[in-house]
Each structure stands twice: as structure tokens, then as C-alpha cells.
Symmetry: D2
Subunit: 343 residues, 4 copies
């Protein structure tokens, strides 16, 4: 049993963390902070939690958080880095669901996030929390940078191909579609039902913050620079990411299906579907699963990988709980057995 | 641990039963039948169940079902009544999620369902499976008629008022809104996304099959005939029922909030919200909860009750599992602790 | 040909006015103002207008508006009343799509809108712009108060019953469902796709600002006080209002269908459907039509009226253009022949 | 003024044709056929047409159609080819909105559509009705094959690049997202609201019928074979296609924005947006417009073209009316001035 805190629990990753942690048998949820909602019952803000979470939001104070074994940050980018050094010094382990510790290069971080990094010395220590790549390092980490939603779906889709050297890494394409919850719970005109429903559009084609994060992961797998065109799209649904990935095979005889099945054989949360399947995002709604299917249209040299996750679960809160389980020696699947809600 | 079977598992109540039973610690799911899908893996039809349900659909044969302690029918109306007498004779207990055993009057049943009843002699034995009314009888029942979705939301909303004799029961109004999953998984034009989304309409105003079921329950509570106007509406969402109920108070000094809180104080799945709350259907999405809130606009004589459920959970599969728990002496909440998925 | 201006064109009633006026053969759109967007091309904010509207937003200055024959206010409540007296004095006619001039009682207005009225002396002059009631007065009006969306659907549904004295006006019920565009284009958490989609809820049951507006209209028709319970609901769709109206018949032999058909026989924008129809809101999406259907379930004394409109058209911009046509002697249907978009 | 007939008007392209033709000033709609709905009023099936279309469906008989100047086929694939030779022989011009005459190679047609072509001799005469390519030929055509929805968005997006020889045509990628109305009004489980909403998935990755149609058009423009990977996706919305197109530039100094603006300068229904725009499908909902925007992420060699249409308008019925206007010498824009409905 561990004592757990959440900093910044008023967004969608926050409420999703609460849903998962409230039902986790080894978690004692001690504190959840929010400057704006301090004093208010969590279940008043999120009525789905009535009867499940009795906590109130409190001010984000170190002396409340320092009794925790683990603190999750579900805050906007740039917040965690202000508090993390102090918490680590007090012996508290941290999983940051924002982007503060995802890039190992402080300059690059500043370039994409528009502010100097507050503790660049921690960037190398932080472990990128993609268990399918860094499981061992996560186990011992003090500080885990939980991956972004697009990067999770895209990397899990591309990794076996790239690790095996079977494709031309200089021209990868990721055409990725996200539900609107990826934009957060902030009151923005573009996220209104009347703006985002019954419509489809790309955005940030010139450059999205998840691009360097994805490239960093793919380059580590490739052992060389990669060229990636990444086009995110806003899709009229609440949850879900569908990554449609394109790459050119260098070996026309590659056995892709077997490659993927072997790569993920022992992964509890990656499901390689039968060849030529078409995974639906709803098949993982509320679940910590990434479903992947492979295609080679007309037996040509272009391989098409379909990779779906729930952006709030495997793309955020679920993966964070998975990392927590690894860090604390629990069964990696503990508290993550939810079956997707269908329909 | 009990052996459980499902007859007719290809609809939405079927897949929802599977979601709940697959995670239930005291259930060993033995058989699930479907004439049309016999031989096909359940998880192929419902990919959310990949990794959770290994069963295949089989033909609906008595000799497969007779080893079960309990069989759920998730079949169209008129199917269960063909097989139930034989199963009961073999000592198998039954919960029917369809309407075959909900009305105690065989003539009335025939009138509303358009066919003669196949085993009218069982109508009196069958227990109407609304635990908040019939818990004791359910415990000992061989045959439970699981309530309809509209009747569950409407009865739970009206019952305290009617049991207490505080309202004029000759003029009750239930304006009820249902998500499209209430229409089932059948391929009907009216249930297409392009027909049912971005629109709202009433239907069956002249008379809906759930009307006699609701009246039967309310009359039992009132000890007299009731007059109910029931108007169902098709709402552009997947899950959820929102019942807006209207009644005229005969006692202007009635303490309604206290009345409801006391009536449901020990009910694990009825949540009486603070006065003047506005429950959202999404606050119960995937959960077995009924949330109720009370209003008396402008302190007048008209009381407005808001009652929400997930039609597939408390309105179908969840309530069926609740009944199963009662029948078999398990904690009524076992396997039903899911927190609603929000957003 | 008339010169027309719009004050406050950045909301949904604004863009809908622009859609209708840009295609109106007798309108020369001269100016559209917005403090926040001044200098920006209208078609940049609303890309559906690219190629149709070349105007830019400008500052709301009287000296730009005073050359107009008619000015529409599509502003938040409380704005029009600051500018209208000056415009009227300059000979400009005004249609206010907000609530500033809808209530004839300044005290009541202050009570519901939370501020003193800036020009109470105009409340009696202002004509309530429901053409089906006030056509003659609209023709000569300097100032038209365009009705609210809920009041339009509710009054058109109830009026024939009430005018004819056939129902008990002391206990009317209006259970009304609105699409999210009724909440406007403001960035509010409750209007986010992730909050408002896949859910249904009532709101403002204790008292909504449209209640006194509806009562005022119904009382004028009844010649006496009315008792109305009005419960608005937020429905997961963009456009549309579905009013489900309940009343008790005092004459059981009333010929309701004929009554409605006669009452609206000459109305170009009210469509009385065959008895027992179920109008869908999508059947009026983008059109200036109100569709009405009548029911008497089980031939009882409760009459159920279903009334649907597009809240942005007959409930706002379309009705405003209809009023404009009446005021300026054009065919009332000019520029309003759009057929609803289905699917 | 021309006499017009529609064969097969019960689907979504049918009702959309009716919406456009009912308001077209030069069209006298004479007959609309449907075997299944013969005798029923069109406005009963499609209540948005109440008050606009007085016709009833009739049996599809040649002697009713032969008085028309033009007949539209809005039938399933394989139907038009049974009747078209006879109509042409009688002097009736034809626009087929299905696929019967889109491919010039009868063998290829049989391969993709699973039946032999009934009149292969007409395949060369039929003009592919993409006005932006074949305007002159359309003018004189007896038989126009109206393009598919995916092919319209994809070809208009790719054409300027390919005609100018600026990209490597051996590796083109079209990642295309379609609203559910593209699947038609047939009662299929996959098109149910409860299946298709709140989810995203690719389909037919192995090969979709629109692939050869697109390739045929692009190869004609390129003057050589092209290699295209085409991945269609089912998107949870009613209308709209968003094509995200990827190509490799052979000339890094190409002036793409100017190229597109010039190519489409005189096209009334293609709107080249400012560079780096992100067109939303809703910006063309109900309108006959194709909106295109160009991107070169990180100034690399991969060009990304975004192209959106309403699949039922520019992708079907609107383009058919545009072709009709061209064939009959009307202003190409006649009856097609509708502004997209937003929100």
C-alpha cells in the first residue's frame, strides 16, 4: 500500500487518474491539489466520483505532498518542473503526466514549450515512461516522464519496424486523429461542442509539440536520425487516438506480422490484432490497451500500421498507473483490468 | 462460484453482460449462445473483449445450458418464454432481460407484445427484479424478470412520492429521454448515425410497451390505479436515460428531500443528490447507479424529479448482475463497483 | 433594397444572420461590428462565409450605423439597450435578438436579468416579434424584440390551445430540449464537446430567464394568469429545440387537429403535421420552420404537443429576417426558402 | 427550363439532389422513382422536404422517364447500366451518381465491382464529371459519370501538383476521412449511431473501390502510372470528407501556393485558402465547395495538402447539379449558392 498524491486534478487526465486510483487496491489517495478548486469536494466537480472519492481539493503545498510515496502531476506544462526538485529531495517519487521531463535536450524543450526549463539537470535522470521500451529503468526511477498521447500511439506502432531496420527511416508519415479530450478541459472556443463536433480538421501541421518527443523515441530505436511528417487531426469524439502510420519497406520479404507479434508477446497492454484488421478506437475506450494492425496494400512496398489507444488511459492516466505499478513492484496490470466500454 | 450462461449475447445488453460478468469474481462464464454467430469467437464480434473473454458463441441448446446455475436471457421479446419452463424444471435459475415475464397479466402482455404468452402460468411466480422494491423476493426467486430501462429510471424516481401518498397519482407525467443503444443493435434505418445523431424527437407517444410495466409498478406502490402520461424521446447519444418526472403535490409542506434520502438510505445503487442538483446521464455512464434530484420550481405545487441511469447498466445488464448477486447470496455490489467514465 | 447593419456579429446568431442576409436579395449589408474582432475579415472568423461576405468587423460606432435602414443587435443581454434610443432617434429601425426588450415590465426584467433597464420607456413601444401573433404591429414597429428560442417553440405549440380556452392554463408543463448552440459561442466549460456530448441533463429547473417571457405571451393569449412549469434540457447536438408540451383538456370533445390546422393555415413558417406525427428537430435544421404535431395518448384528457424549431433560425436569426421582411414590406418568405439539411 | 427525373431517390444522395433541385430555378422535377417506396409521398420519407417537394415516388419505368431532358441516377452500383442505353437511345441525357461509368476499363470495373458491365461500349463515351478537368467534354456529353466522394477530394487536392510534374508520382499517400453518410442510408450495423459514433477506424485498407477511380484520374493528369496508397477512415460525423495528402517534391523551390491559386483561379467551387490554413469539413457543410490548403512542414521535401468537401454535395449531388448546369448551358453556379451551415 502506498500513499499517493495528485497535483492538479481538475483536468481530464486528473479525473481519469482519480477513476483508476480510487479502484486501485494498493493505493491510498492522500491528497489532490488544485489552486482554483481548493476546499471543494472532488465529487462535486466530477459527479461520476460521488460515492468513490471523498477527498477535497487542497492548495498545492509541499508539506502536504511530502508524506506521499508517489506524486502524480496532472498539471499544465511548466508547472511540475517548479516543484519536482523539492519533492525528489524529500524522497518523494514523481510521475509527471505533462511534458516537462519528456525531452532530454533543454534547448529543444525551451524551443517547443516557449520557456526556459526550470531544472535542466533533471532531464537526463528522468526516465521516459514508455514501459514497452524502458521497463527496467522505470522500475528504479525517481522521476518518470509519462509520454504524450500521440507519442504513445505512434511509437508503439512504429517501434518494431524501426528497431528491426526494415524501413526507410528518413521518410516516415504519421497521420494521427485525436478525440477532443486531448485538448483538455480548458474553456477554449475550438473545443466547444458546436465547433468541434460534426467536423474534421488537421491542426498544427507546421509543427506540433509532440513531434520532437516522437522523433526522440524513434531515433533512439533507430540509432540514427529519422525524418517524420506528423499531422494531427481533431476528430469529433471525446476519447481515442487513431494513428495511421506509413513507411517504406527496405526488405520486401519482411515478415511483419510475426515481427510485431514477437515484439509485443509479453506486453500486457499491447494487442497485435490479426493481419489486415481495422482496430476501432472505441475498442479501447476506458482501457489501457494499445491495439495494432498491419497492412501492406496491394502487396506493395508501403506498410500501413494502424495503432489505437484511449488518449486518457494508455495515452495518459492508465500509462501513469502502469508506471506506478512498475516503480513499486506491483503486478503491472494491477488496477488496470478495465474492459473497454462498448458501445 | 457459480456457472453462468447467456442466451443471445449478440446485442448491446449481451456485450454489456459480458463486460460485467467477465470481471465478476464469483462467475464462471460457461456458455454464450447465438444462432446466427454460432462458432464465432465472442471477442471477434466485440473486440473490446479481446483478452478478456475466450468463449465462442454456440447454438442455444438446453443440454449446454442445463449445467449452469443461472442463465441470463438477453434475447428479443418472446424468446425466453420458449425455453424458460424447461430450464426451471432442470433446476436452472433464470434472469430474463427481455420483457417476457415483466407483466403479471397475460392478456395485457399479449396486447402489448402482439403474441400469446407461451407460459402464462409462470407470470405470477416471476419476480420483478427491481431490488429497491423486491429484494427479499428476488433472493428466493427461480425466475427474475429484469426491468426495462425506462421503467427502472421512472419507478425509482416516482416511488418515494407515491409510496408516501404525497401526490395526485391520477396525473403523473414522465418525459423520458433515451440514448440510441436502447433501440438495440439491430440494423434499423432509424438507428443509423445519420438518422439519429444531431436530432431529437419523441416516439411512440400513442403508447409504448414500457407504459403498462411502469403503471403496474406504480400501482402496486400506490395501492390504486394511476394515470400516467409517458413520452419517450430518442436522444442523440449512445447510452443514458434521463427521466424528467412531474407530479402534483397534495401536501404543500411535504419534506421531499428527506423523504427520498431516507427511502434510499440503504440502497447501494441509488444516489439522492443534494436538492436542486441536475444529474447528467454521463455521470452514470458504465455504472450501475441511479442518480436522482428533486425540484419544486417557484415553490409551487408541481414537483419535478430528475432521474438518470445508464440504460445498459442499471437499466439492463448491471441490474441483472445485481439481481444475480442477491439470488446467490453475494454482496449485492460485487462486480458492480465500476466508476462512470467521464468524460 | 435596404441598408442593414449588425451589431455584435461574432456569436452563433451573428453568423447565422450573416448566412441569411448575405443571400437576401433586398439586403445590402453595410456594417458589422465587434469590439473584440474589429479589423478582422468576417470570413476569417467564419470560414463558411469565404466568398460570400467581404466585410470586416468594425468598432460599434453610431456614425457607421446611422446610415442603415435597419440594425440587428446580436449582442449579449444588456448591450442593445445602451445604443437603441440613439439609433431610434436617428431614424434607424432596430431588431434586437437579445432579451433587452422582450419583457414589458421593467421591474421583472431587472429581476431576471440582474441589472436595471437602461431605457424602460421603450419597453411598451417595443413589439414582441412573433409574427404569428403580432404581424400587424411588427409592420409598423421601430423596435422589434425578437423572441427567445425556447419561447418561440413553446408559444407556437401552446397558442392555439390557449387562445381557444380549451385547456386548464393553471397547470401547463413545457419539457424542452435544446441543442448546445443555444448556449452561445462563449468559451464555457459546460459547452465543451467533452462535457456536453454523450450526455443529457436538465438545467435551471429553479427558474430560467425564458420563463417570464413565455408566461407573458401565454397570459396575453389566455387573458389571464397562467401556471407554467418550464424545464429546459441541454441535448447533445448542435442545433434544434424540441418542446414537449403537456396540458389538461377541459373539453374532451375538442377537435385539436383542425384547430391547429386552421390557426396556422396562412402561416408560411408553421407546419402542422398529420395527427400523431413525431417531428424531428433535424427536419428543420437550417430552415425557418416550426413543425408541430398533436397527440392525445390513450384518448385521455392530457394533450401532448410536440413543437420543433432550429433555435438559430426560427428561434433567432431566421425569425429576425422574417420580422425584417414584414417591417419593410417584402414578401415574408424572402430569403428564407432554405430547405433543411438532412441528413 | 428543363424536365428532370431521378431514379432511385431514397438514399442520401437522392434526398440531397432533391434539396438542390427543388430550389433550382431552371429545373422542373417531373419524376422520382423508387421500387420500394412507389406511391409514397417524397416528403413523407424526408420530412425536411415538406412544403418543397409535392412529388410521390413512382415505379422506375422508361415511359415515365423518357419525357425528361435529363435523368439522374442515384441508385446502387450496377443499376444505372441496365437502363442507361435505352434512355440515351430515346434522347435523354444522363448523369449517374453511382460508379457504373466511372472507370473506362470494363475489366477493371468488373474486378472491383464484382459483376460484368452491362454496357461496356458506353464506357468510352461517358465523360468523367469532374468539371475542373473535363468541363468542355461535359458540356456536350450525353452521359456523365459523376465522380465518387473520395476521388473528388483527392483529385482536386493532388491535381495541380501532378499536372505540373513537381512530385514523385510513384509514392503518393492519401489518408482520407469520411463522415458516415458516405456509407449510405442502408440499414447496416456498422453505420448505426452506437457503432460509428465515438469511434474512429480505417477500413478497406487492402483496397477500396475508389482507388482505381482516383488512380485513373491521376494517371491521366500525370501522363504515366502512379503509385497511390489510399486509406479511407470512417469518422464519427454525418457529412464531410477530409483528405490529407502526402507527396514528395522533386523541386525544392516549387512555388506551390501560387501554383494552386493559378490552377483554380477561375473555378467557382474550389477555394484555395491562404498558405498553412487548416480547412474544417464543417466550413463546406451543405455547400458545393472544395477547400484546399497547402503545407510544407519544417520546409522539408514532403508536401501536405488538406482538401475538404461535403461528400453529399461536391462529392455527389452538388457536383451532379454543377454538371447539369454545364450540360444545359446554365451558369455553372445556378442553384448552388448555398452557404455552409455553421455551426
Amino acid at each position: 500500500m502506498i500513499n499517493v498524491g495528485i497535483v492538479g486534478g481538475t483536468g481530464y487526465t486528473g479525473v481519469e487518474l482519480l477513476r483508476l486510483l480510487a479502484a486501485h487496491p494498493e493505493v491510498d489517495l492522500q491528497v489532490i491539489t488544485s489552486r482554483s478548486e481548493a476546499g471543494r469536494a472532488v465529487a462535486q466537480l466530477f459527479p461520476n466520483l460521488r460515492g468513490h472519492v471523498a477527498l477535497k481539493f487542497s492548495e498545492p503545498e509541499i508539506n502536504r505532498l511530502c508524506d506521499c510515496d508517489l506524486v502524480f502531476f496532472a498539471t499544465p506544462n511548466g508547472t511540475a518542473m517548479q516543484m519536482v526538485p523539492q519533492l525528489l529531495a524529500l524522497g518523494v517519487r514523481v510521475i509527471d503526466l505533462a511534458a516537462d521531463f519528456r525531452l532530454s535536450d533543454a534547448k529543444q524543450w525551451q524551443q517547443w514549450y516557449g520557456m526556459p526549463h526550470a531544472c535542466p539537470e533533471l532531464l537526463n535522470e528522468a526516465v521516459y515512461g514508455l514501459p514497452e521500451v524502458n521497463r527496467a529503468a522505470i522500475r528504479d526511477a525517481r522521476l518518470v516522464a509519462n509520454p504524450g498521447c500521440y507519442p504513445t500511439a505512434t511509437q508503439l506502432g512504429f517501434l518494431p519496424l524501426i528497431e528491426s531496420g526494415l524501413v526507410d527511416v528518413s521518410r516516415l508519415i504519421a497521420d494521427v486523429k485525436s478525440g477532443v479530450s486531448g485538448a483538455g478541459r480548458g474553456a477554449k472556443v475550438g473545443s466547444l461542442l458546436c465547433e468541434a463536433s460534426e467536423s474534421m480538421s488537421a491542426y498544427s501541421v507546421a509543427g506540433h509539440r509532440h513531434l520532437p518527443e516522437i522523433c526522440q523515441g524513434l531515433e533512439q530505436a533507430a540509432g540514427q536520425a529519422v525524418g517524420l511528417t506528423f499531422v494531427p487531426h481533431l476528430t469529433p469524439m471525446v476519447r481515442g487516438i487513431h494513428a495511421t502510420l506509413y513507411a517504406e519497406l527496405s526488405d520486401p520479404d519482411a515478415q511483419l506480422q510475426a515481427l510485431y507479434e514477437q515484439r509485443y508477446a509479453d506486453e500486457p497492454f499491447v494487442d497485435v490484432m490479426p493481419a489486415q484488421s481495422h482496430p476501432q478506437t472505441r475498442s479501447v475506450k476506458g482501457a489501457n490497451t494499445c491495439r495494432i494492425a498491419l497492412h501492406r496494400p496491394q502487396q506493395g512496398s508501403t506498410v500501413v500500421i494502424l495503432s489505437v489507444i484511449d488518449n486518457l488511459v494508455k495515452g495518459a492516466a492508465g500509462q501513469a498507473v502502469q508506471n506506478m505499478n512498475i516503480m513499486h513492484g506491483y503486478d503491472e496490470r494491477l488496477g488496470l483490468a478495465q474492459i473497454a466500454l462498448l458501445p
